[in-house]
């Protein structure tokens, strides 16, 4: 339909790259929800390379676009509303421009909310780099009754403006062509730049004069002066440290007298924006009701909204159990099981000693199996997540839940990651990325393991009927409630102690609804799964081999193993809670995967994990009070190794992991003792023991 659409023949060969006679570095910038990733995917396809920005948890995506001998290295800058150091995303974008010196910035704007989008352009134009503006979602703007004349805007701004409908691949080829031209010949780039509001123009000049000659290389002094007036924390701190003391004192005094300068900085930008869009945008306020308005009538309605939320998450779990569970079992039995058999046969034939065979077959391949079994759940979770994220619904869910999340010192955005925890704590921890502030992200990650994941629910569902017969269901629900109660209590306590005063403002855009893009979803799932396999996968594998080794050496079965010895050494502790060493070992083994607890009990209590046999054995050997304790501890116990691994991946700090493990251990054990002593005191244990 469009002869100039981007044809994707990626990945490009290295040969082709070598023949490129010119190479440019391009930064792709834009506010969130402007369809930037669609454009990035169109341009770079499978040549994408995903990593992290140095020292940040924000993903860094880079890809190659090659056209008629010119190669463009395109870096997808994280979506940012501005370039003030309010979030990692914003800091990354500006650091990239100042330090990596891209040849050109391609900024993508949402034509249906142009005024707000141009705020980022106002900031970009203060930096020493030529900019091309892509006006995306022209079709959406039209349906909203907004007409944008790109060439009029181009004339006003003094920089190239290209209209786009990225999801239909319209205009993207022109955009990159114009970007290339500008990168080749940036000399004539003289756009109309915004100015600070009149009342503070003089102050800006004075600050700039004071800075003169003291600003190190990549920073333009105009820009630094502006950022100081805006109260930018990072620039202020740098200036304080690097400027001569006397000069800093004078600047500091000046800034102190003009605390309100930010209003004129922002005001000046919007004044400039008004001038720019004045002739280019026709925006008759017809008061027509858009699709988004119509959908929001239900999505954020106090009653229907909650119902929809429930439905969406019901669907998520149904999909997980209906699709992921069978695949998981198939992987376990048909793939891993068969591989284990083959490998064992081959090794035995080759005459390998039996403990080597066992180590490779059960330890290593078993560990691979554990990693693999996470894949179906993660794939489905990330797919559904990306679908609702891309459609615009997720922000509505966060909006609906904000009130409740305030109870634990978090806000709406933390709801989703925590809720994902019911399926699996791994995506819950990874999902915390959506929270901008480090404090909020950390608190969410610390609370996530307290959400009872499906593996723990499986253990609960198996053991509760064994001990509590007819009251199994209320007891199980009680345990889930206990977890949530503990989560709230821990959240409240952390919020008033460690995280005191670290409240982060809840300011969130609710984007227009739109049809999710399959390519965007696919790439999101792929990148997340790959990140999990790379980092968490290897840690899980190592840990499971380690635990396997501990439970199989020095030989003579698990009863004589190091793990069992360790369990026995804890017997005094166990007595306090009515547990013998076997239960302790089962608890320890649940660290690899929660469902391991059942298998371990099966081995230690001498049945062949035939569920009925095990149930009967357990019922006769363990008192109900002890069972209550055991369940309480397993529900609240240290997260599994996969969760710990992603917690490390996301926080990058073993100190927080240690803190989390100790915290959860303390909670689990004290809750266990409390439940056990309480039950004993109530006579439950005695009754059944007798």
């Amino acid at each position: 339909m469009n002869s100039r659409s981007i044809k994707n023949s990626q990945p490009r060969s290295a040969v082709e790259l070598e023949h490129a006679d010119k190479s440019f570095l391009v930064g792709l910038a834009g506010q969130p929800n402007v369809g930037k990733s669609t454009i990035f995917n169109l341009l770079t396809g499978l040549s994408q390379h995903v990593g992290n920005w140095p020292g940040k948890t924000v993903a860094r995506k880079e890809g190659l676009y090659i056209r008629s001998g010119v190669s463009m290295r395109i870096v997808d800058l994280p979506g940012a509303y501005s370039l003030t150091a309010n979030s990692d995303e914003e800091r990354i974008s500006r650091d990239f421009i100042l330090q990596n010196h891209p040849d050109v910035i391609v900024m993508v704007a949402d034509a249906s909310a142009l005024e707000r989008n141009l705020y980022l352009l106002a900031e970009l134009l203060m930096l020493p780099v030529p900019v091309v503006l892509g006006l995306n979602m022209m079709d959406v703007a039209e349906t909203q009754g907004i007409h944008v004349e790109a060439h009029v805007l181009e004339a006003a701004l003094g920089l190239p403006v290209i209209p786009l409908v990225a999801i239909r691949n319209q205009g993207v080829a022109e955009l990159i062509e114009v970007a290339e031209r500008l990168a080749r010949d940036p000399v004539g780039f003289q756009p109309v730049r915004p100015e600070i509001g009149a009342p503070h123009r003089d102050v800006l000049t004075r600050v700039r004069a004071l800075l003169d000659g003291h600003i190190p290389a990549p920073y333009p002094s105009d820009w630094v002066a502006l950022k100081l007036l805006e109260g930018d924390a990072e620039i202020t701190e740098r200036a304080r440290r690097s400027l001569p003391h006397t000069i800093w004192r004078r600047i500091e005094t000046l800034l102190g007298e003009h605390e309100d300068a930010i209003l004129d900085v922002a005001g000046g930008r919007y004044e400039w924006i008004d001038r720019m869009v004045h002739a280019a945008v026709r925006h008759p306020r017809l008061g027509q009701i858009s699709l988004t308005d119509r959908l929001d009538r239900f999505a954020v309605h106090p009653f229907w909204g909650l119902l929809i939320l429930l439905g969406v998450f019901g669907l998520l779990f149904w999909l997980t159990f209906a699709l992921a569970a069978p695949v998981q079992e198939w992987l376990d039995v048909a793939v891993i099981g068969r591989l284990q058999m083959r490998l064992a046969d081959a090794l035995v034939l080759a005459g390998a000693p039996s403990h080597v065979v066992n180590l490779l077959v059960d330890g290593v391949l078993g560990g691979v199996g554990i990693v693999l079994t996470f894949l179906p759940i993660l794939t489905i979770f990330f797919t559904v997540l990306a679908f609702f994220e891309d459609s615009g619904y997720l922000t509505r869910a966060a909006y609906m839940m904000d009130r409740f999340m305030h109870l634990v010192g978090l806000h709406g955005k933390s709801f989703l990651p925590l809720f994902l925890g019911f399926g699996c704590n791994v995506p819950a921890v990874m999902g915390a990325r959506v929270i901008e502030s480090r404090a909020g992200r950390l608190l969410t990650i610390l609370l996530a393991p307290l959400v009872p994941c499906s593996a723990r629910l499986v253990v609960l569902a198996f053991l509760a009927p064994v001990f509590f017969g007819k009251v199994a269901l209320p007891v199980s629900l009680g345990f889930v409630a206990l977890n949530i109660l503990v989560l709230v209590v821990v959240g409240v306590i952390l919020n008033h102690t460690l995280f005191r005063g670290r409240h982060t403002a809840f300011i969130m855009e609710l984007p227009l609804y739109h049809l999710p893009d399959a390519r965007t979803i696919g790439l999101f799932v792929w990148h997340n799964i790959r990140a999990f396999l790379r980092k968490a996968g290897s840690i899980i594998l190592l840990m499971s081999v380690l635990i396997w080794t501990l439970s199989h050496f020095p030989g003579d079965g698990i009863e004589q193993s190091y793990l069992a010895r360790f369990g026995r050494s804890l017997t005094p502790l166990g007595h306090l809670m009515g547990m013998d060493w076997r239960l302790l070992v089962a608890l320890l083994s649940s660290f690899i995967a929660k469902e391991n607890a059942i298998a371990t009990l099966g081995i230690l209590y001498g049945t062949n994990s035939e569920s009925e046999g095990l149930a009967e054995t357990l019922a006769t050997q363990i008192s109900a009070a002890t069972a209550l304790f055991f369940l309480a501890v397993i529900m609240l116990f240290v997260p599994c190794v996969a969760t710990v691994a992603v917690m490390y991946q996301e926080t990058g700090s073993w100190r927080w992991i240690l803190f989390s493990v100790i915290l959860l251990l303390t909670i689990a054990l004290s809750a266990g003792v409390l439940v056990y002593q309480g039950a004993y005191w109530l006579g439950i244990g005695i009754l059944l023991d007798a």
Binding site: A113, R116, A266, G267, F506, I507
Partner: protein, 88 residues
């Protein structure tokens, strides 16, 4: 409009049209709001305020959710629409 008393955003009702008058709180707060379109002088419409929980507003064609604590720090002046209401 000039003689109007300014009002905290969390005290407005659903459907209110207003102009942002002042932003209380840190420079950081003001800068975050400005980047999302909420600057002094911007016209807003309150899409939802249920008296509890977050507030939903429309500003510069953007729907923005604000926590109550954040809304409290935004002072607005109510605008009476020029067109008379159809039903009175």
């Amino acid at each position: 409009m000039s003689e109007q008393q300014s009002l905290q955003l969390d005290r407005t009702t659903t459907g209110t049209r207003a102009v942002v008058d002042r932003l209380l709180g840190s420079r950081n707060f003001a800068s975050r709001l400005a980047a999302m379109g909420l600057s002094v002088g911007a016209e807003i419409e309150v899409l939802q305020n249920r008296g509890k929980g977050p507030i939903l507003i429309l500003v510069r064609d953007t729907r923005i959710a604000l926590g109550r604590r954040e809304a409290m720090r935004i002072l607005v002046e109510q605008v009476h629409s020029e067109q008379p209401k159809h039903k009175e």
